[in-house]
């Protein structure tokens, strides 16, 4: 068996229908407002999977929901106070996952493995099949070439699709991917030498057509060795509106808070929800004392991605998806920061 296969485009829907039988299917869909989002597809016949546009949000929220009840608790009349885990993981096939979002997922795998496996995250993760899609044409704000997480991430997927025009080149990654190929072998033909050459050519072209030229490596080296000028922080802090948008769209921003939501006098749920280190209240302590000023909460977001994660995990946790560039109306995005660091 060769390690690459061909799926005719005409057969995509039936293949996806087969592998997602009994599972939830998530794929990029463009809605009536023109927004492309990773969405749940209930009816493949009436829904078009969008393989052309960049999804505006990552797949983060399917694994770390914006709000998730992780525990339920009860307080009995006699005063007994008990907690139990709420573990939810629906078998899900993700189709069309972009490299940056796959890289984000692999980063979350690491984050949620320490000090022990996070049961809520892994319940979802272990129920997922990831089919990634290489990016033939980088989008406007993308710079995953510079963060080494795309445009064709070579690992972490179950299957990887490459769009070769009238057909997809399909490669297995993890074991589950191989099993799928074996189970549905009738959909596939072995890829020819020419198919692989075509893929190689596409990858070359994609790599050379990034519109953003971001010097991530240089910034990482500078940050490891010198302090960022006060004026750089001040300039960014002045324009940050503290909205948290960058953290919400980011595939690797995983900070959360935990609160109780009483359901009745005697019952309630403990809820984990997204938080952002750029929020003023993030570090505020009882009595209103805040040990971290706003200029330093930006410092925390950028240095976390480009300095501390590099020293901890040997790579930046920015996946180059460019989403924070598109979303920030104050222009306080990671490309601006990297440029400022490189120029200073």
């Amino acid at each position: 068996m060769s390690a690459a296969y061909i799926l005719a485009k005409d057969h995509l829907k039936s293949f996806v229908r087969k592998i997602s039988k009994g599972s939830r299917l998530i794929a990029p869909v463009t809605n009536e407002y023109g927004d492309t989002l990773y969405s749940e597809i209930n009816c493949l016949d009436s829904t078009q999977i969008d393989t052309q546009h960049q999804p505006q949000s990552s797949i983060k929220h399917f694994f770390l929901p914006q709000q998730e009840s992780i525990l339920s608790y009860s307080v009995s009349q006699a005063g007994e106070y008990h907690f139990s885990n709420i573990l939810i993981g629906v078998p899900t096939v993700f189709f069309g996952v972009r490299s940056c979002d796959l890289a984000g997922l692999l980063y979350m795998d690491v984050i949620f493995s320490n000090p022990a496996k996070d049961p809520y995250y892994f319940k979802k993760r272990e129920n997922s099949i990831i089919i990634s899609l290489g990016c033939n044409e980088p989008f406007e704000n993308c710079f995953c070439n510079a963060t080494k997480s795309g445009p064709f991430l070579d690992f972490g997927f179950d299957l990887r699709f490459t769009d070769l025009g009238d057909r997809f080149l399909v490669e297995p990654g993890r074991k589950r991917g191989m099993e799928i190929l074996e189970e549905f072998a009738y959909f596939f033909n072995d890829a020819s030498e020419q198919d692989l050459k075509d893929q190689y050519q596409l990858q070359l072209e994609s790599r050379s057509s990034f519109q953003q030229n971001v010097h991530v490596d240089l910034a990482i080296k500078k940050l490891a060795n010198e302090e960022v000028g006060k004026d750089v922080w001040q300039d960014l802090a002045d324009r940050c509106q503290d909205c948290g948008g960058c953290a919400y769209v980011c595939p690797t921003c995983t900070c959360f808070t935990i609160t109780d939501q009483p359901v009745s006098e005697s019952e309630g749920e403990r809820v984990r929800s997204w938080d952002a280190c750029t929020f003023a209240g993030f570090t505020r302590m009882v009595g209103g004392h805040n040990p971290v000023s706003s200029e330093h909460s930006l410092r925390r977001r950028f240095l976390h991605k480009l300095k501390y994660d590099v020293s901890l995990h040997n790579r930046t946790s920015c996946t180059g998806c460019g989403r924070c560039v598109g979303i920030c109306f104050g222009g306080v995005d990671i490309i601006k920061f990297i440029s400022a660091v490189c120029e200073s």
Binding site: I70, V75, G79, F83, E227, F256, C277, H289, N290, H304
Partner: protein, 277 residues
């Protein structure tokens, strides 16, 4: 790992108008028997409908069977806890955090400097030292706002009997107060000269810590011989939620105990200027 275990409040000691010490035992006896911890570590405490808050051990593992937490009434959770009578149930998970280096401190002369509720975690250390008998001289400097605010008085009496040199001070005196008046740093000159094997453990409000550390350094203590605890807003206690992030460190995992040496190496402590919002 986010699942709290039920514990019963066996006893409550009123330390002052704002601080109570809770004697607790897990209702699962097996769990209580196997439970171990070290001075300086903390628990995440759940109170019905109020979420969780990090609270340090005030007791020492040398006295197994129960654990003690001293809690200052501060906000929602701590106020609700203060309203609970003995016999009530709370939730506990932990222990978390890096403890005081009890092994390395063996044989050293210890100078404890505490302010307010900051004596709670040091109470754990002092009890540990007295019970194990492996440590040198013990001196405690303890600052409170007013004479009425002096907490842990019963403990202080006991420690004095056990040979601990306890010196108290208050910020504002009242008519019948005979002792020292002034912030806790005013007691420091009385401890001079420090023996060459002195290590100081400092715990209290951030401003106090900053002043005390500065003076201890002037008194000749080396950075590695000044040990303190950092307080940050905490949500998970296990290094994941990001709330207690300080540069490349997570206070809940890499701390809350740090030596001045470790803090100096971490730039943020000196760059993140405290602001009151």
């Amino acid at each position: 790992m986010y699942l709290p275990s039920q514990a019963v409040i066996q006893d409550i000691t009123i330390e002052n108008s704002r601080i109570k010490t809770y004697t607790l035992a897990f209702t699962d006896k097996e769990y209580q028997r196997n439970f171990s911890y070290a001075p300086g570590q903390f628990m995440m405490v759940s109170v019905p409908h109020c979420g969780e808050a990090p609270i340090s051990f005030a007791s020492s593992p040398t006295r197994p069977g129960t654990i003690e937490l001293s809690v200052r009434k501060a906000g929602e959770l701590t106020s609700r806890l203060h309203s609970l009578p003995a016999g009530s149930m709370i939730g506990l998970r932990g222990p978390y955090g890096k403890p005081f280096p009890m092994e390395e401190l063996a044989g050293k002369d210890l100078l404890f400097v505490a302010g307010g509720i900051g004596l709670a975690p040091l109470r754990s250390v002092i009890t540990f030292c007295l019970d194990s008998g492996k440590y040198g001289t013990i001196t405690l400097l303890y600052g409170s706002r007013t004479p009425e605010d002096i907490a842990f008085q019963a403990d202080i009496e006991m420690w004095r009997k056990a040979g601990v040199d306890c010196r108290l001070t208050v910020d504002e005196s009242s008519s019948d107060w005979q002792g020292n008046v002034g912030v806790v740093t005013t007691l420091l000159p009385q401890t001079m000269p420090l023996s060459s094997s002195t290590v100081s453990l400092v715990c209290g409000p951030l401003v106090m810590i900053d002043f005390v550390i500065k003076e201890l350094t002037q008194m000749g203590l080396k950075d590695e011989d000044i040990i303190t605890t950092m307080e940050r807003h905490m949500k998970c206690g296990v290094g994941v939620c990001g709330h207690c992030h300080m540069d490349d460190k997570m206070i809940c995992v890499d701390g809350p105990v740090f030596s001045k040496k470790e803090l100096t190496e971490s730039v943020a402590h000196f760059q993140e200027k405290p602001t009151v919002t």
